[in-house]
């Protein structure tokens, strides 16, 4: 890995302590996010705050299974986010398909389509596990190891190829996307 300059190190330490996550519930793991956010576990004390649009967000939470229809939107969303951006995959469904391993509409592994920095195991992960994952991600960012966004840029062709293999077409066709 390349040495980081001093400015990059400072920027990384800021990035690690202010994580804005995108408020996008892609799957059922999102059910444990409200307890994590609210009074009992209170993830705002670590600097993690929900954000409304992908433009402002630093981190994309893939909360559980992804079906092909959502995966198209997730790829849109991921590409709309500003660098540096990070991805957390929630639950066993993002790791190897989990309980939906034989479903005709859900994907089996997430890092084939978008780069993932941290996976959380479990179905569904408990709030403690989510907080632990956030802390782990912060540690990774501080050390400069969370480089999924660079990998996506370097291996763009490979990711696109995988996306097209599973989705047929990444672009969304409906009355709103002419």
């Amino acid at each position: 890995m390349k040495e980081r300059t001093i400015w990059e190190q400072i920027a990384d330490s800021f990035r690690s302590r202010s994580i804005w996550m995108l408020h996008y519930c892609t799957g059922c793991g999102a059910m444990e996010l409200p307890p994590t956010m609210t009074s009992r576990f209170d993830m705002e004390r670590f600097g993690v705050a929900p954000m409304a649009t992908p433009r402002q967000a630093d981190i994309l939470l893939i909360t559980g299974y992804l079906n092909t229809k959502t995966l198209r939107r997730v790829i849109y969303t991921y590409e709309q986010m500003a660098d540096p951006k990070y991805v957390i995959g929630f639950g066993s469904c993002t790791i190897n398909g989990g309980i939906y391993f034989d479903s005709y509409s859900t994907i089996n592994r997430l890092d084939y389509y978008v780069p993932v920095d941290v996976y959380i195991a479990g179905c569904m992960p408990r709030p403690e596990a989510i907080l632990e994952a956030f802390n782990y991600l912060m540690e990774k960012i501080r050390k400069g190891e969370a480089d999924g966004w660079k990998r996506y840029r370097e291996n763009y062709e490979w990711y696109k190829q995988n996306q097209i293999r599973s989705l047929g077409e990444v672009y969304v066709h409906d009355e709103f996307h002419e």
């Binding site: 519930c25 009992r40 079906n67």
Partner: protein, 368 residues
């Protein structure tokens, strides 16, 4: 000013779950709206055909996330109806307690959750935090916070110990003591009245024609509750009321949910008192492994009153070790698809998240 196309979701903070409404907007008024479900489609009905009768219990709680126990209960009741199984009496009472606890959890989240669309975040913080107390009971009883897999075919998985009973009593007291705070914070707030009262009106005829069940129907003044009309478990043996309102607007729907919390507390207390003691909480499923159980030929429809309305499982068996077909009636199917198309045009942009919140449009059970 011409029509503007706007996405409401799937990635929008006002959206509950992963669902999308495409709107054509003129000024602030919605001219046309089109629901776009399917972001959470996992093909449950196909997957259930590929798994054994018993292993489906692990799969189906995932159909509906906010209140997963109704799935297991419905499925188990449907299978018991086909197989003509007699469930031990204690297990029935325990099922009732679990279902009502799940209803309280869901309603706390929904009542607080109405704070999201209108900006009263303190309410949603309180609601979610108090819901966690109920999740603690579930964790002690079943070992899991959200997906319990506790109600199984022929009973429940484990017995309710006196220690957990004690915990339930204490938690109910706590939640009852919190209710006045919610009343003061949410239902006595005049800005909230002006936001919710008289908005998103549904008349009784419209609600019945649309096929809405649950709070959306009861807010129009009829006492239609599956627990009363078609009693399952022992709901005919406990004493409770079905709160109704006559306005049919967003406010009365939220307020009814709030009132149902105290009714559920009442039901659980009665159930804890009336429950017979004993260790038998499930019937022996079959000789050998539970996975090899065979259910005789037949079909049945079992439905219960979930927090959002009538929730049903249609189970078909062809006499083998796997279900032949399972179809799910999501409680929010009518209001989530037909209701959005028919009743959102003419409202304002701000009312769209309110429709989703007060009518309880739950995306995973529509998509399955």
């Amino acid at each position: 000013m011409g029509e503007v196309k706007l996405f409401f979701g799937p990635n929008h903070p006002g959206m509950h779950g992963n669902f999308s409404v495409h709107m054509y907007v003129e000024g602030d008024i919605v001219k046309r709206a089109r629901p776009l479900p399917g972001f959470l489609h996992r093909g449950f009905e196909k997957l259930m055909e590929r798994r054994y009768w018993y292993s489906n219990i692990a799969l189906i709680p995932r159909i509906c996330v906010p209140e997963p126990d109704i799935n297991e209960a419905c499925y188990a009741m449907g299978v018991e109806k086909i197989a003509k199984l007699d469930v031990p009496e204690r297990a029935q009472w325990i099922r009732m307690i679990v279902l009502e606890l799940a209803r309280i959890a869901n309603h706390l989240m929904a009542v607080g959750g109405v704070g999201g669309p209108i900006g009263l975040y303190t309410a949603s913080y309180w609601g979610t935090a108090d819901r966690d107390r109920i999740l603690d009971i579930f964790e002690a009883l079943t070992g899991a916070r959200v997906y319990h897999m506790y109600i199984v075919i022929g009973g429940v998985r484990k017995n309710l110990t006196p220690k957990i009973e004690d915990m339930i009593w204490k938690t109910l007291d706590y939640i009852e003591s919190r209710l006045p705070d919610y009343e003061n914070l949410i239902f006595k707030n005049r800005i909230l009245h002006s936001r919710l009262k008289g908005r998103l009106l549904l008349t009784r005829e419209q609600a019945l024609e649309m096929g809405v069940t649950g709070v959306g129907l009861r807010a129009t003044g009829v006492e239609y509750d599956v627990r009363k009309v078609d009693p399952y478990l022992f709901y005919d043996k406990v004493d409770f009321e079905v709160p109704t309102a006559t306005d049919g607007d967003a406010f009365s729907r939220v307020y009814l949910k709030f009132k149902e919390i105290s009714q559920s507390i009442k039901i659980i207390r009665q159930a804890l008192e009336k429950m017979p003691q004993g260790d038998k909480v499930n019937v022996a499923v079959s000789k050998g492994s539970a996975l090899r159980r065979i259910v005789p030929k037949g079909m049945a429809y079992a439905h219960i009153e979930s927090a959002r309305g009538e929730y049903g499982f249609f189970v078909v068996s062809d006499g083998k070790n796997k279900p032949y077909r399972v179809a799910v009636r999501g409680a929010s199917y009518p209001q989530g698809l037909y209701g959005i198309e028919k009743y959102l045009p003419g409202t304002r942009i701000e009312d769209v998240p309110l429709w989703l919140a007060t009518m309880d449009v739950c995306a995973p059970e529509i998509d399955r």
